[in-house]
Structure formats: structure tokens, C-alpha cells
Symmetry: C2
Subunit: 527 residues, 2 copies
């Protein structure tokens, strides 16, 4: 079988394949020539054995070597950027610029370098010393991490280069990555940038695809330390149950409709500008962002009615005028169509779009739907369905009470945004509403924004790319932002009365690394 | 029905009971006169509604009030100590002194006060500010926390006063506690020490018992924020699945056999002293500690054979000589007998004990079992069964290889201990073995000890009372030790470009509290 090779235990080799698959070029709507293997369990088993060995070796390694690996990987990705970007553009139809080459790839290498810096600094280990009682603890590697990357960020969330990858490696774990079947060649190209830098050969391993049964078996295998998953709610929930039943920590990012609230004063003050911002955000990446606004809550009153309607009309016009960009896949377009149909079946009115768009490839018309607050409140489950793509639902609310009721019925989301007026009487009016609704929204989202669209996710220690279930599986964790994202893939190790010479370096009374923050007798201390 | 009252929404009232139960006096082996209700779902439902309201109110409250409540609760427990201790002594048969009055109760109030101090200091919130990007995040309350306390620590792990309680309240959450049915009166007595200190009435609620079906319904209810559980593996796994299927974070402490390794040099050097320490540890609380040593790995060589055998003989003699203390319940004694029988069925030899002991109440003879390394390796699953009570299994190993093999087969545990020689050639010999086996043990335990029995669990920021599955449900968390234990009951809240006046106090540029550690632009900063 002439299919691409998997990387297991440091060696590119033919998969033990039960079949092959091809990615598509979504801009043309045709299959790509390269064949990729669907691995049988024996490939997973071999990877797990090799990872177990690598995990033990990594634990004994100087962290500087792990940091050097992450830096070198970032540099190699940059050196191979042209081929990686070309592969991604072909498999995803996402624009090379501005996006793959000048936004997502630099973001990805930046994240790898931030992870490297965290490994060098060692503060992520949260070393805690109680010198009086001679008890000491710190975070340490959790064991082999299996990572499933999503379809929508071929670099920044890829299992071989993204946030989960960087976090799992930074914590000192080997990674077994499952490529997303929509961009196997991208994954292979990125992955070929892995260079030997003195790490165990099985530190990073990659398979292209496995069947569902083997997926469940993989995440629940005794050799696994933890699992990272970014993708659909349906797939996520199946993996979640399998992993959790086996006692394996699994961190999932699954779905989010990212409500954006426009208060009356904001619409009165700057509805043209807001429409522009919103359109740019909803259509970014053809709406295929985890944080894409799927639900607009447009607060229309007798005073701002004309501006609110102009706002909605302007969005509709822009949606109609802007050419539809290709979606990631044929299946994604069908899923989007099903979502739009489900929303109209639940009472939403189709304002524009709602069908496939002309042009090559898997295009769907930019779609705006509209519903009343009463409609939303009558069908809150059906009308907060995630529609992954270039479509969004505007719910027009007329009273604060309606807005409060809607917020009270929202599921967990990654983000929630409020736009409010910035000056004058409009500001005080909006502020009064904000003070009541922000606490309600706060409870339902991981990241609360003001006057800013949620689609950008900065790599910052203060970022939370997480949120209450079902956006993720635990509202206390984040998949972006170092060091918090690293802690997901760490276990807590305590040393009680352990003899000084046997303590790990990070927990000795004095430490060589001058940059490390440690909590000693209740005080954060450096060096 | 003349049963005790439950506390729901700030009011002691009759339960909506489907039946009643009585606790036992395990020292006498007879039922106690007080009747306690088994609540129907309507009691849970009422508590959940009240807790939802309390959660919203608590979020808006000055943390100083929560701290004051925890301090006042500790003081009230102390003021009512006599009746609380008397109730516990009657229901558990644990000694008043040294234990309930002078060890466990002070430990419990100390923990409540440490939680109060953490609330006042606010460093637990892990406030992280990226001033350049204007992104800020902190931990915040997760929502109503349901707590199931265990049978073995009527104060220190009780759902109304223990570690999970202190952590959940400190995080700003209301608590719904389910009393353990073996000590309902203790729980009621402790709980009556809850005084109104300006907190919402439903901040702490308590029911005595519910049937299994309602237990599963309770932990998976949409109104729940998280669950804390300490108890048996069987009950824990059922609750785990129900909670996790509903997307509810659940933190469980379930089982542990706490291996204690005696290296050859240590036995040669101080076997008499070690036997004494071991006996004291195994028989503490009649062996009903989460961290009680259930598995001794005794390294016997041609050189130390006589001392190793004296060591084992001395343990057997002490076990035989020391009077058996009552166990917590009749069911517990039956379970212990089943465990001992299972171990002998799996090949272990009964050295002493193995049957009910004379004397009033539920007593079981102090029991020592013995097996060879070969036997353990032939039946590793059956021979690492937790035996909850005054029994322990000594496995005699003769080679380092055997020891390594055994450690490689251990499940996750709370603790693991190594005793080694402290001087001379014996020390270097043991050190060489330690260097190989400690990393293996390290991977399987939450807390690694040297030359110290694991039964004491200090309340220290550096403590880890946790460990790999199935000891707990997540190896990155601990149920003892502040602030880490608080983080389990918190969610991560991020503020992105939120206007300065709308930020919570903890995330503003400057903060009033001079004691709060915050991570600002990567540096831990106080005040």
C-alpha cells in the first residue's frame, strides 16, 4: 500500500493500515492525490509502548534539553514554512495571507517558544516548600499524552504543533498525536520539522487516522497519562466517557456559540462600526473559529430601533456582498446546512444566505438568521445550536428582562462579549444594564470581553481559552496561556521528609536557576 | 416521624423522609436511639434551589465575611467540643484521647482557620494580569458543591467541617453536605455550631442520607458546580460516572494501600524501632486511615535475614498482644473479614489474626498476612486489595528485581514510603537500591516519604493528599493543603479588554489588600 508513513518510536515507517484515506482540496471540491493510512491498533500499541519508555527517560532529563527542542522545533517550522503553509492552504482553503503564513504560523511558533521559556524558567512547576514541616511539592509530568487536534487550525491547535502539544511537551511528557484527517499532509509537513535534539526518539509520535473503536481504546489505555482533544461535541463526548471510565484525565474543548451582546446605547452610538467589526469576526476563517460569534443579542428599544435595524441590515448587506469563502470540507458544509435548517425549523427567520454558494469548492452563502427573544425563550435548546461556519443568529431582545432570561438559559461557552456605549447618557443607560447582565454572562463563559470581538485568542499567561461545560470538560482549566495550560498535563508530587540529597533539584533548599518562582513558607520567592 | 431535622435554606426542619435509620455504637455493637431521616428527592431539590440563590449572593459578598464565617465556625466547634466529641466517640468508637478531642478536632479547626486566612489573603485566586494586552484572569467560585464525607474521620473530612468543606466555602461556594450514615449525630452536633455571620442562609446545608438513585441524581444535577467525595471505591466510581456524564467536575479520594518499603540496610540497622513505628501506624484508628499501610515490602537478603525475620515476628507479636480496638461498623468488620479471606485465597499466609476478636463491639483481631514476591507477582491484582481496618500484608522480597517488578504493577496510591539505612555501608547499599526504586514508586503515589510513616497528613500548602487513579480521580489535585485544595472548587475567569471600572477588585491595576500575591506581567507581586 503506497501510503504516507507514520512516525513511531523515532522512525518513519509504513503504518499497519486497515485502509487509506485522502484529504480534499476544499477550494476545488476534489480529492487530493496523497494517500494516508488508517492505522490498526498495533500502531497505537507500538506508540504507547515507546511513549512509556520515553516518559521515564524524559523525567530524568535536564529541562534545558526540552526547552531546546521546543525552540528548535519552532525554528524548523519557520524554515519549512513555505511547504507547510502550501500544504495547509491546499488542504484547508484558508488564505495564505492574512492567515496561515503571517498569523497562524507565527502564533504557533511563538507559542512553542513561550513553552520553551516556561520550561527554562521552571516556575510552571509551582514548587511549594514548607521548610518547617519539611514537606515539599511540585508539578511533574503526568505521562504519555494523546492529542487530537481539530480541523480548523492546522498549525495552532494541531496535535503536532499546537497549544496542547506545546503544553504536554513542556510538562515533560511524550506526545502521541492523531492528525486531523482533513489536513494529514499539513501535519506531516509540520512534523517533519521535528529534529533530533537529544530527546528520546518517542518524545513525539504521530499517526494519521484510526477508527472510532481504536480511538476509544487509545484514550482509555493504562499506559496513557492524559488526553487533549479539540473538536466536535459528539466526538468529544464519546472520548470523554471512555477516558474518564478508565480514570484518565481528559481535557476537551468541544463547542461554543460565543454570545455577543449589543446594548442599546452602543447601537445608537456606533452601529455602523459595530456591524463592520461583527461581520469581520463572523466571517473570519469562514466562521470556523472556536470563538466565532454564533449568537448576537441585539437590544432594540423604541429609542434605538432605527439604528438597531440599520445595524442588522448592514450585516445582512455585507454578508450578501462579501464572497463566500470555501469551508474546510464537504461534510462541514452539509453540517452547516443541517444547522441552518434546524434553526429555521426552531423558528428562526432566514435573512440572507441559507444555501450553497456559487464558485469552486465547498462554499456556503454567508448566512444571517433572526429570531425574537420570545422565540429563543420558547426553544432555548434548539436555538443555541452551534453552527460551525459562516452563519450567525441574531436574536432581537426588547427588554432587560428578556436578556436576563436568555442569559440564564445559555449553556457554557468559551467567550461572552458586551458592547456598550462609551459616552454620555447612552453610556449610563448601558452601564445600568451591564451591571445586571454581566454577572449572568460571567457565569456562563470562560472569557468575558468588552467592546472587542472574541475571535482573537492571545497567547498570554492571563488568557482563558476554556469555559463551563459543554464548552470544555472543566471550567478551571485553559488550553491556551502558559503556565496554566501546562498544568493540565502535570501531576502533583509531594515529598514528605525525603532526605535532602534525594530531592529533585526544583525542591532543594537552594536552587541553581535564578529565574524560578517558588512558594517558600507562603512567600513567592525567586532564585 | 420523630427523626432529626435537616438544615435546608437556613432552617432546621423535618425532612421529606422515605424512611429513617439509626447509627450504631460500634464499641457496644448496638443501635443508637436517635432516628435520622433518609431524605426524598424533594429535600435535595430544595437544597439545590436554595444553593443556587446562595451562590449568586456569595459571589457579590466581601470575602472578609466568608473568612469571618470560617473563623467563627472554628470557634463554635471548639466551644461545643465536648458534645461533638462525645457524639463522635459514641458513633465511631474512636478514642477521645489521643484522637478525637486532642488531635482530630484541633486539626479540623486549624484547617478552617487556614482556609479563613487564605480567603483574607486572596492569593488563592491566582490573579494573573497581562497589562500590555489588558487580559486578566483569576479563580472564582465554581457553584454549589455537594460533599460526601467518609466514615473514618468524623471531623477532619466530614462534609460539614472537613477539608472539602473548608475548600469549597473558601472558594466562595455554598455547600450541600451529605452526612455519613455512620455518624449522623456527630455531623448534626458539629453543624449546629454554624452561626449566622451575615452569609446567605443556604451557604451550608445538610441532609443525613439519601438512597443511591438520588445520590446519582444529586451529583449530576445541572445546578451543581462540583462534587467532593471521600469514601469507598465502589461508591465513588458510581458517583464519578454520573457526575462526569453530566459534565460536573468530581474530586474523589477512593482507595489506597500505601506501600511501605523496608530496605535491607534499614532492617539490619534498626528493625526493632521500625517494627514499633509500623505497628503504631497500622493500628492507628484501627487501621481505618486513608493512608494506613496495607502493603509492606520487606527486603530480606542472606545478610539481613535474621533481622528481617525478627522484624516480622515483632510485628506479629505486637499485633497479638495489643488489644483489638472496635471498628467503625458491623459492615466494616464483615468487609475486613472478606478482604482477609480474599488475600488468603490469593495465596497469602495468615500469620496472626484473621477472625473476630473478643470484647464488646465490632472488634477484629489485629491481622498480619504474609506472602512471597513470587506470590504477589502471580496475583498482583488480588494481593493489592485494600483491606480497610487493622490488617496488613507483608510481602517478602529477596531481590531488587522482584521489588522493581512489584512496584511496576502497583495501582495509584496516596502515599509510598521507603525506609533505608542512615549510616555506614548499610546506607550506601540501600541508597543504590533507593536510586532505582524511588522513581518507580514516585510514579504511583501522590506523596513519597522517607523514614516516616504515612498516617499523618499535615495541613500544609506543600501537602498532597491525592495520587494517581484509582487513589483519586485526578493526580494533579489534592484534598488537603491550602490553596491547592481550594482550586478544585474554582473556575477560571478571564477578562479581556474589560473596562477598568468593571473589573473585580482582585484584577484592578492596584489592589487594596496588601497581602495578596498576584502574577503581574510574569512576576509575583504582593500588594
Amino acid at each position: 500500500m503506497n501510503a504516507a508513513q507514520v512516525l513511531i518510536d523515532g522512525r518513519w515507517r509504513a503504518a499497519d493500515a486497515e485502509g487509506t484515506f485522502h484529504a480534499e482540496n476544499p477550494a476545488k471540491g476534489e480529492a487530493l492525490p496523497l494517500a494516508f493510512p488508517i492505522s490498526r491498533w498495533s500502531d497505537c500499541d507500538a506508540a504507547l509502548n515507546a511513549a512509556t519508555k520515553a516518559a521515564a527517560e524524559l523525567r530524568a532529563l535536564d529541562p534545558a534539553k526540552i526547552a531546546a527542542f521546543l525552540d528548535a522545533y519552532a525554528a524548523n517550522i519557520e524554515a519549512a514554512a513555505d511547504s507547510i503553509v502550501a500544504a495547509a492552504a491546499e488542504e484547508t482553503a484558508l488564505p495564505v495571507s492574512p492567515r496561515l503564513k503571517d498569523v497562524e504560523l507565527p502564533r504557533t511558533t511563538n507559542q512553542l517558544r513561550q513553552a520553551a521559556a516556561a520550561v527554562r524558567e521552571e516556575s510552571w512547576r509551582n514548587a511549594t516548600l514548607d521548610l518547617e514541616k519539611n514537606i515539599r511539592s511540585c508539578f511533574a509530568p503526568i505521562g504519555p499524552v494523546v492529542i487530537f487536534g481539530p480541523n480548523n487550525f492546522p498549525f495552532a491547535f494541531n496535535g503536532v504543533s499546537g497549544g496542547d502539544f506545546a503544553a504536554a511537551i513542556a510538562a515533560g511528557n511524550p506526545v502521541i498525536a492523531k492528525a486531523h484527517p482533513l489536513h494529514p499532509n499539513t501535519t506531516e509537513q509540520a512534523f517533519k520539522a521535528v529534529e533530533s535534539t537529544g530527546l528520546p526518539p518517542a518524545t513525539v509520535q504521530m499517526i494519521y487516522n484510526i477508527n472510532n473503536e481504536n480511538g476509544l481504546k487509545l484514550v482509555s489505555d493504562p499506559r496513557v497519562g492524559a488526553v487533549g482533544f479539540t473538536g466536535s461535541r459528539n466526538a468529544g463526548l464519546h472520548l470523554k466517557r471512555a477516558a474518564e471510565d478508565a480514570g484518565k484525565p481528559i481535557f476537551l474543548e468541544m463547542s461554543s456559540i460565543n454570545p455577543v451582546i449589543f446594548l442599546p446605547g452602543a447601537l445608537a452610538e456606533r452601529h455602523e462600526q459595530l456591524a463592520q467589526e461583527l461581520v469581520d469576526s463572523v466571517l473570519a476563517g469562514s466562521g470556523q473559529f472556536c470563538t466565532s460569534p454564533n449568537l448576537l443579542l441585539v437590544f432594540e428599544t423604541p429609542q434605538n430601533q432605527s439604528q438597531a435595524e440599520v445595524f442588522l441590515a448592514k450585516i445582512a448587506t455585507s454578508f450578501t456582498e462579501r464572497p463566500a469563502q470555501p469551508l474546510l470540507s464537504s461534510a462541514g458544509r452539509q453540517q452547516l446546512q443541517r444547522g441552518v435548517t434546524a434553526l429555521t425549523n426552531a423558528g428562526a427567520q432566514l435573512v440572507t444566505g441559507g444555501n450553497n454558494a456559487p464558485g469552486e469548492g465547498y462554499r456556503y452563502a454567508n448566512t444571517l438568521l433572526r429570531a425574537t427573544a420570545a422565540q429563543f425563550l420558547a426553544a432555548p435548546h434548539d436555538l443555541q445550536r452551534e453552527i460551525f461556519g459562516n452563519a450567525t443568529l441574531a436574536v432581537v431582545v426588547n427588554t432587560q428582562k428578556e436578556l436576563e432570561s436568555i442569559l440564564g438559559l445559555l449553556e457554557g461557552n468559551l467567550t461572552g462579549t458586551v458592547y456598550s456605549a462609551k459616552s454620555g447618557a447612552a453610556q449610563s443607560g448601558d452601564d445600568a444594564i451591564y451591571n445586571v447582565i454581566a454577572p449572568l454572562l460571567r457565569e456562563r463563559v470562560g472569557r468575558l470581553l468588552n467592546d472587542k470581538m472574541p475571535t482573537g485568542v492571545a497567547v498570554s499567561p492571563a488568557m482563558n481559552h476554556g469555559g463551563p461545560y459543554p464548552a470544555t470538560s472543566h471550567p478551571g482549566t485553559t488550553s491556551v496561556g502558559i503556565p496554566a495550560s501546562i498544568h493540565r498535563f502535570a501531576k502533583l508530587e509531594c515529598y514528605d521528609a525525603v532526605r535532602p540529597e534525594r530531592l529533585p533539584a526544583i525542591l532543594k533548599d537552594t536552587i541553581a536557576n535564578p529565574g524560578t518562582w517558588r512558594l517558600i513558607n507562603g512567600n513567592w520567592t525567586k532564585g
